[in-house]
């Protein structure tokens, strides 16, 4: 682009590019269900004009923003509306996070404690009186059930059963397992290792991995989020310097490390950002370039799979990689659900004050799943999975687990031997 005058303004988040077209308000999941929320245009660029003059124009109702980034995906002018709102919350919101928000935000600390006591914790968290008590004392909605904690962390399993034979692979990838795989659902991590090993790819973990920090950011624990982010970036740089890309099975962890670190926490990751990606993108690219081949089970995979694009996957723009991988499975019927928010937004939907909005937001998605009536809903986000499983009778599976199930393990392993 050659020009004598700079074309783009220098306002942060493209704030000055807003032409007040109101397109974002159509795609905000919150405005139609919660009249307390002023909507992305008012909460974002409109409100920012006032806040720049005086911080006390800040409106606490901005806490109702899900940070789904749908406003940004729809904006014709490239305004980072969601970032404007989140930065305003970080900068102007009064008061500090209470006990409940701290508990919800520290997914890794809570997970670390709970896995050790998992049979007890899982049982207790399912008891109606406990749910009532948490509702009344903490403000965690009684309709919610916490995902159960695993008795054995993913990292423990990996150390005992997988780590030793990763050395035999020359192509290696670093797996950012995240809190969910480690404390709640190691099965997904095991599927990941199985699939990637079959593809001739060794799996390394980051020894110092911390929670990506998304829940801390959402609950305004910015110092704690920044500390975790710095540790992760250090670990990521070490992995990249060894020639590894860093991949995750959670689209939100990836969005947070790629975009929220620089945009919200002010941590420059430009040197490694291109090396951080979802597992499905990493795998798709190797398959497309002919470096990896999947051999599927002979009797096929005769299931109807309905792919739900998580909001953060939509923002990344990478749903296409998961969808294309699913379409490779012989016999599978793949449909793509209309792009709608499930309503949970991580810890948001667990809070008592948000529960009814969370369910009202998700209704469009739940209805569309019921119309499709698939064998499985497939999605790359763990909190979408909780929400859909809590709100519909359908089972929700990560595309990596689907692929791990659909391949002929031995034949795939043979096909990818160097």
């Amino acid at each position: 682009m050659t020009t004598d005058t700079p074309l783009s303004n220098i306002s942060p988040n493209n704030f000055e590019q807003c032409v007040k077209c109101t397109v974002c308000t159509v795609y905000c999941p919150v405005t139609a269900v919660n009249p307390l929320y002023p909507g992305p245009k008012q909460a974002g660029p409109d409100g920012e004009r006032y806040r720049l003059k005086r911080g006390d124009f800040y409106n606490e109702a901005l806490k109702y923003c899900l940070n789904c980034k749908r406003c940004e995906v729809s904006c014709p002018s490239g305004v980072r509306i969601g970032d404007i709102i989140q930065q305003a919350r970080m900068k102007y919101s009064h008061g500090s996070a209470g006990l409940r928000d701290r508990m919800l935000a520290h997914t890794d600390l809570m997970g670390g404690i709970a896995t050790r006591l998992s049979p007890t914790v899982n049982g207790i968290l399912r008891l109606t009186p406990v749910k009532m008590a948490m509702d009344l004392t903490l403000g965690i909605d009684r309709h919610r059930t916490f995902p159960s904690y695993t008795p054995r962390k993913f990292t423990t399993w990996f150390r005992r059963h997988a780590a030793a034979h990763q050395e035999r692979y020359t192509r290696r990838v670093t797996y950012f397992h995240g809190c969910y795989v480690n404390y709640n659902f190691p099965r997904l991590g095991k599927d990941f290792v199985k699939l990637f090993n079959a593809c001739g790819i060794g799996v390394d973990l980051m020894p110092g991995e911390k929670c990506c920090g998304v829940a801390r950011i959402a609950n305004r624990l910015i110092k704690q989020a920044t500390d975790a982010a710095r540790t992760n970036l250090r670990e990521i740089r070490t992995a990249v310097s060894r020639g590894n890309d860093v991949v995750a099975t959670s689209s939100t962890c990836i969005l947070t490390m790629r975009d929220e670190y620089p945009h919200l926490l002010g941590l420059d990751n430009a040197d490694v950002r291109d090396n951080i990606m979802t597992a499905t993108r990493y795998l798709y690219r190797l398959i497309e370039s002919g470096q990896v081949r999947l051999v599927f089970k002979e009797n096929g995979f005769p299931y109807h799979l309905a792919y739900h694009t998580p909001c953060h996957m939509a923002k990344l723009g990478w749903g296409v990689y998961s969808i294309e991988l699913l379409k490779m499975i012989p016999g599978a019927m793949v449909t793509v659900l209309d792009n709608n928010c499930c309503g949970i937004a991580g810890t948001y939907g667990f809070k008592k004050e948000n529960y009814k909005y969370s369910q009202a937001i998700g209704k469009t998605l739940f209805d569309s799943i019921a119309r499709e009536n698939p064998d499985f809903v497939v999605t790359d986000c763990e909190t979408c999975k909780w929400q859909i499983e809590m709100s519909t009778p359908y089972r929700v599976v990560n595309p990596i687990s689907i692929l791990a199930d659909a391949i002929d393990f031995e034949a795939t392993r043979q096909a990818n031997m160097q």
Binding site: M1, T2, T3, D4, T5, L7, V19, C21, T22, V23, T25, V26, Y27, T31, A32, V33, P35, L36, Y37, P38, G39, Q42, E72, V73, S74, C75, P76, S77, G78, R273, D274, Y284, R285, E288, A314, K315, L316, G317, W318, V320, I323, E324, T335, V336, D338, N339, T364
Partner: protein, 411 residues
């Protein structure tokens, strides 16, 4: 990632080209930076509303009076005649039902009660055979209480000029009480999201009671954001001619059209990359080899064919600097007068020359860079310029017809 055809731009032009490609079995992708002008739709797809300031009844005949630079003249009369009948069925396959004739304009009712030429109009909007005689003796205009993006008084005044008696009322249902608490968000799209089955049943009851005695009911287009189920339901329940009038943006019927086209394209197996921006391209020997985007970073998006449907200034298909007008994706050659004073008219109501600026293309819509033609790239829709969609009422037609011109094989 490899495709047969990659389309840059996801508005009406890009979607039309993409659907036509995907229907022929091509592996097709759309890269779309933000939502499109369909969000400001009037409910009508215009073909040609006026030439030299005079309303047009027969667009095919009137095309001859357009300047040579106009996209319709460049497509040519014969080709236009073969493409025009393809539009309504294409929209229909996407689930968008329209009223209108392939070759002749009908007339529509504007929110100010004026009558304007209209080509294909969404089924739930009123259209007329003639601009002089409306089919109603009396209408009931029904607004949603506290909805501010609709002006019944103006509408009634215009209709009374045409000899139609009007009553104005506003109605409310309890399902909207929650939304009504927010003055800024009581918008058409949000109302549409609240109006589900039971709400529409309630609304139908209210409308029936205030519309008793009227020949037709007119109400703001606040129904059916993702599909037309609730629109059909309300019209069936009211059991009397009921038509929608467009509101201030964003346009619910426009969003619905966009969503239905998106859904149809996706169901055809097409790949929609929404919210992504092309940041660069690899060209070789007068051909585009690959494009690169914000979201896909170093991953090249390759195709044998590329179609540019990036629109005009609003969608950044063209960008004006103080001294030049540029096409920001590839740096294509753009036609515009050298002297900035010639870019605009100081009278805001006059035709603005800048609206006709566009990428310079050859007879088959291939653009050039520094005079060198790009052979596997075609530019369609408003990025090609040569027309004034506001004065000529041809925005949707140029989008649809140029897109079909490059994707429909010649017989």
């Amino acid at each position: 990632m490899n495709f047969d055809t990659i389309i840059i731009g996801g508005g009406l032009t890009g979607l039309t080209a993409a659907i036509a490609s995907a229907e022929r079995g091509e592996r097709t992708a759309i890269i779309s930076a933000g939502q499109s002008a369909l969000h400001f739709s009037s409910g009508t797809f215009e073909l040609l509303g006026a030439v030299d300031g005079k309303p047009v009844t027969n667009p095919v005949e009137a095309m001859d009076r357009l300047p040579d630079t106009h996209p319709y003249r460049r497509i040519g009369r014969e080709r236009m005649l073969s493409l025009l009948p393809l539009v309504q069925p294409l929209l229909s396959r996407a689930g968008i039902a329209t009223t209108g004739n392939h070759y002749i304009n009908r007339y529509r009712l504007t929110p100010l009660g004026k009558i304007k030429p209209a080509w294909l109009t969404l089924d739930d909007f009123a259209t007329f055979d003639s601009p002089d005689r409306l089919p109603w003796r009396s209408v009931a205009i029904v607004n949603i209480a506290d909805f501010q993006d609709f002006y019944p008084t103006f509408l009634a005044r215009g209709l009374r000029d045409h000899g139609v008696e009007c009553t104005i009322s506003s109605t409310s249902i309890k399902e909207l009480d929650n939304l009504r608490r927010s003055a800024t968000e009581m918008r058409a799209a949000n109302i549409a999201r609240v109006l589900d089955y039971s709400a529409v049943c309630n609304l139908a009851g209210r409308i029936k009671s205030v519309g008793r005695g009227a020949d037709a009911i007119l109400m703001p287009a606040v129904l059916g954001l993702a599909d037309d189920l609730m629109v059909s339901l309300l019209r069936r329940l009211v059991n009397k001619p009921l038509y929608f009038i467009s509101t201030m943006p964003t346009s619910v019927p426009g969003v619905r059209a966009q969503m239905m086209l998106n859904r149809y394209f996706t169901n055809l197996g097409g790949t929609l990359m929404a919210g992504d921006t092309v940041t660069g391209a690899r060209l070789d020997n007068g051909r585009v080899e690959a494009v690169f985007t914000n979201n896909h970073g170093p991953e090249p998006l390759t195709a044998s064919r590329f179609i540019m449907a990036t629109g005009s200034f609003f969608s950044h298909g063209l960008v004006a600097t103080p001294s030049s007008v540029i096409e920001p994706v590839f740096g294509l050659d753009v036609d515009y007068p050298a002297d900035r004073a010639d870019w605009f008219s100081k009278n805001i109501g006059q035709a603005q020359p800048f609206m006709e600026f566009g990428v310079r293309t050859d007879d088959s819509w291939h653009p050039s860079i520094g005079g060198n033609t790009i052979t596997n790239l075609q530019c369609v829709g408003s990025v090609t310029g040569g027309c004034n969609p506001i004065k000529q009422g041809c925005g949707a037609g140029v989008a649809l017809l140029t897109a079909l011109d490059v994707t429909t094989p010649r017989l």
